[in-house]
Symmetry: C2
Subunit: 197 residues, 2 copies
């Protein structure tokens, strides 16, 4: 069995806690307890809480970028099919690890420099996506509109629905296997309809 390093375990636990409850609401003590170590060990690996937040963001961004990137590259040529592929790719981690997308929503509360760094981190992916949307619109394979805003809207739909279990409970949705598939399919048709020419 692969011995995961203390540092990795801390990042892992912190990602889960930060993503589900928010950075401010989680203390170093709590993270340390969950990892099975003392707070000072956490502060040994990350000199301050801020630095830990940076580390978590970096790790999360890397994971998301890899997942999405791979999905897009492996997807068929048709842009709507490609959207499908991204949905499927993001849906799995989102369900298995709600914290991952939850952390994305924490970005609004980050210090400006942290937010800026994260933005720079995902910028290539975003620009490629927007460029792609733009050329597909020109080719008449996608509904016309401001590519940047359309991208933001699609992303808002996806992360919104994937990170708001309470919202889904409010409309009587059940989080079982069947419900999950129904939700994913509904999301796909919704996005297809919103983006189709």
């Amino acid at each position: 069995m692969t011995e995961r390093s203390t540092r990795e375990r801390i990042l892992d636990v912190a990602l889960d806690l930060f993503g589900t409850r928010g950075v401010d609401a989680v203390s170093l003590d709590e993270i340390a307890r969950e990892v099975g170590v003392r707070k000072q060990t956490v502060l040994y690996w990350f000199a301050s809480k801020d630095e830990l937040v940076d580390g978590v963001l970096e790790a999360a961004a890397a994971e998301l970028v890899v997942v999405i990137d791979a999905a897009v590259r492996a997807a068929p040529d048709d842009p709507l099919d490609r959207v499908d592929a991204v949905v499927r790719a993001v849906f799995r981690p989102a369900v298995r690890r709600p914290a991952l997308l939850g952390l994305v929503r924490e970005v609004n509360r980050l210090r400006p420099d942290q937010a800026a760094r994260l933005r720079a981190r995902v910028a290539p992916l975003v620009e490629r996506g927007i460029g792609h949307l733009s050329s597909e619109m020109d080719a008449g394979r996608l509904r016309r509109g401001d590519p940047a805003l359309i991208a933001a809207l699609g992303y808002a739909t996806l992360t919104g629905i994937a990170t708001e279990p309470e919202l889904l409970r409010a409309v009587g949705w059940a989080a079982d296997r069947a419900g999950l598939r129904r939700l994913r399919d509904e999301l796909r048709s919704y996005l297809r309809a919103a983006l189709a020419p």
Copy 2:
């Protein structure tokens, strides 16, 4: 000039702070300072922080319900026009008071009983909306699908885009007057496309 009561001022400030930075990240001291009063005065009006949170949620829900309800009732008969009306109605408060929708997103982190109470509070509105979607689908004036999930998706799009300024910055959007109008129009066509039959 109307003398707003201390209680109201506390609710107001707390709504803004909770909505923009999260419940856990805001202390009673900070709220009190902003109101211009001592923390113990806050604790006089609300016996505990939890009770204050309850009060804020109640006030926010009431405000949102009134706004949306009025918009829907005043809107024309066509369901897509009605969606337009809701978008316009929610967009204005969302921009003038980001905290209002921001608080909605805090719901995921609430204690279960608080979340349940809030859900009960907005349930009538939600059910009416879903029923409406359902009958419009039957009438062939909306794209067919699970009305509850479609409602959740539309809502996720709207609140997602309205509460994630960082997301919009990431795609190079400017928060000026023109940008705002462009965003609103783009959101409207996006939703129309997603919902149209």
